[in-house]
């Protein structure tokens, strides 16, 4: 690991002013689970490391205005165990619980997993299916970006070098909505997904037709992949096997997986179809049982 200057500001203004002064040459460190490996392997060699460890105010889960606001420093383990999240958006707790192992979840943060932008990660997929938005701040001001406009490529996002991800806003699911995250793991349970699928389905309770849905995949493209063409197929329709097959094949056409240790590209594309069908079916079931 190359030597670097280490700073540990306890307030946001100072973090942002350090980023303003050293942006290109600085890296933020939150949980460190991704960054320390990259530093150790000399994939990155920043001159400054700005630690968020002492920064107050970004580590709570708050409920307001029909949404949950997640501070960037909330850990994966807190997301998994938070009573508010388990109660209000259970699929989020279920997703974070499937990330890596307890040791990683104790350190890894919500902001870190989004800014890291590895398309094989789990929680960005579910957060995108829930229509989450991220809050970004720099010394010049703040902006909010819908998560489906946040990722741009493998490990790339719209975050500017002087910007900090401060929070994530997740709207509470509408009534009669069912959501699920399926992680396809052909090897071990602590692995990254070969394919991950998040599906969210809102139904019209009397007719049981699909009002709106979201389909997002991980591990099959350079970024988490939302397939609006498949979503459109489902809206106004009733759950039927042929419909699910049609949606799955539209999804498959949009995937662009690479062959790696977690599977050949063809295999991932095939499994993406299988997982989308299963995820939609289960989300739909959940939506039905949600209905009073």
């Amino acid at each position: 690991m190359r030597a670097f200057e280490y700073r540990e500001p306890d307030n946001l203004e100072e973090v942002l002013s350090l980023l303003h002064d050293h942006g290109e040459d600085a890296k933020i460190i939150a949980g460190g689970t991704a960054l320390v490996i990259m530093l150790n392997q000399r994939l990155i060699m920043p001159s400054y490391l700005i630690s968020l460890r002492k920064l107050a105010g970004l580590n709570s889960v708050d409920s307001a205005d029909g949404a949950l606001q997640l501070g960037a420093l909330v850990t994966h383990r807190e997301m998994e165990t938070s009573p508010v999240i388990r109660d209000q958006i259970p699929v989020l707790a279920e997703t974070f619980r499937q990330v890596a192992t307890l040791r990683i979840r104790n350190m890894a943060t919500v902001g870190g997993t989004l800014a890291h932008a590895d398309p094989s990660q789990d929680s960005p997929v579910t957060l995108m299916a829930l229509d989450a938005r991220v809050g970004l701040s720099s010394s010049g001001g703040s902006r909010e970006v819908p998560l489906d406009e946040f990722f741009t490529d493998y490990y790339e996002t719209v975050l500017q070098p002087d910007e900090l991800l401060t929070h994530v806003q997740v709207p509470l699911p509408k009534p009669h909505t069912g959501s699920i995250y399926l992680k396809f793991l052909p090897k071990t349970e602590d692995d990254y997904a070969t394919v991950g699928v998040a599906a969210s389905v809102e139904i019209e309770p009397s007719s049981q037709l699909c009002r709106e849905c979201r389909i997002v995949l991980g591990g099959v493209a350079p970024t988490p992949l939302r397939v609006k063409e498949a979503e459109a197929l489902l809206s106004g329709q009733k759950l039927a096997p042929e419909l699910l097959h049609k949606a799955a094949s539209v999804v498959q056409e949009h995937t662009d997986p690479i062959s790696d240790s977690r599977g050949a590209a063809d295999y991932k594309r095939e499994m993406a179809g299988v997982c989308v069908r299963r995820a939609l079916e289960q989300a739909w079931q959940r939506a039905l049982t949600e209905s009073p």
Binding site: R2, F4, E5, N40, R77, L102, R103, N106, M107
Partner: protein, 158 residues
């Protein structure tokens, strides 16, 4: 680019001068001479380097030493009280929970944190908690038996 950190390791306060890039595992092993904690994969996967930070298991290979400033760290050296082994250590002996022993410091520390949080875990809860601690020797069944066995012993030793 050195920093002075203060950390409590196994109940003892230490003040250490470390370069910013020092990893916690190296601080424990080389600066403090606590070589019980082992390094396996160096990328957070194997669990050999597990220590507790404020009671929570973490990979010390993924943490900067600076992260331990002001924190309480427990390593395998901190489990026994004088000549009494912790019940988890005793149970690993009684139930054959190790062979070569390289994974054992991480295993017992992780298991201790489990029993501190959940004194009577089910087999599924043990498996889920211990999932990230890899063992090449035992086939895991003896480890699960050891942790179940430990629940029957008095906390703090037997």
């Amino acid at each position: 680019m050195t920093h002075t950190i203060r950390l409590n390791v196994n109940g003892k306060e230490h003040t250490v001068e470390v370069p910013s890039r020092r990893l916690l595992i190296d601080c424990l092993r080389y600066d403090l001479g606590l070589t019980g904690t082992k390094e396996g994969c160096s990328v957070g996967v194997c669990g050999a380097c597990t220590v507790l930070m404020d009671g929570k298991p973490i990979s010390s290979c993924l943490a900067l030493a600076l992260f331990a400033d002001g924190k309480e760290i427990v390593t395998v050296e901190g489990l026994a009280r004088e000549d009494r082994l912790d019940r988890v250590q005793q149970a690993f002996i009684d139930y054959g929970g190790f062979q070569c022993g390289i994974c054992t410091p991480g295993m017992v520390v992780t298991a201790k944190a489990l029993l501190d949080e959940n004194p009577d875990p089910t087999v599924d809860e043990i498996k889920e908690w211990m999932m990230g601690n890899l063992c090449r020797c035992t086939g895991y069944y003896k480890i699960i038996e050891s942790i179940q066995g430990a629940t029957a012993l008095e906390p703090g030793g037997e």
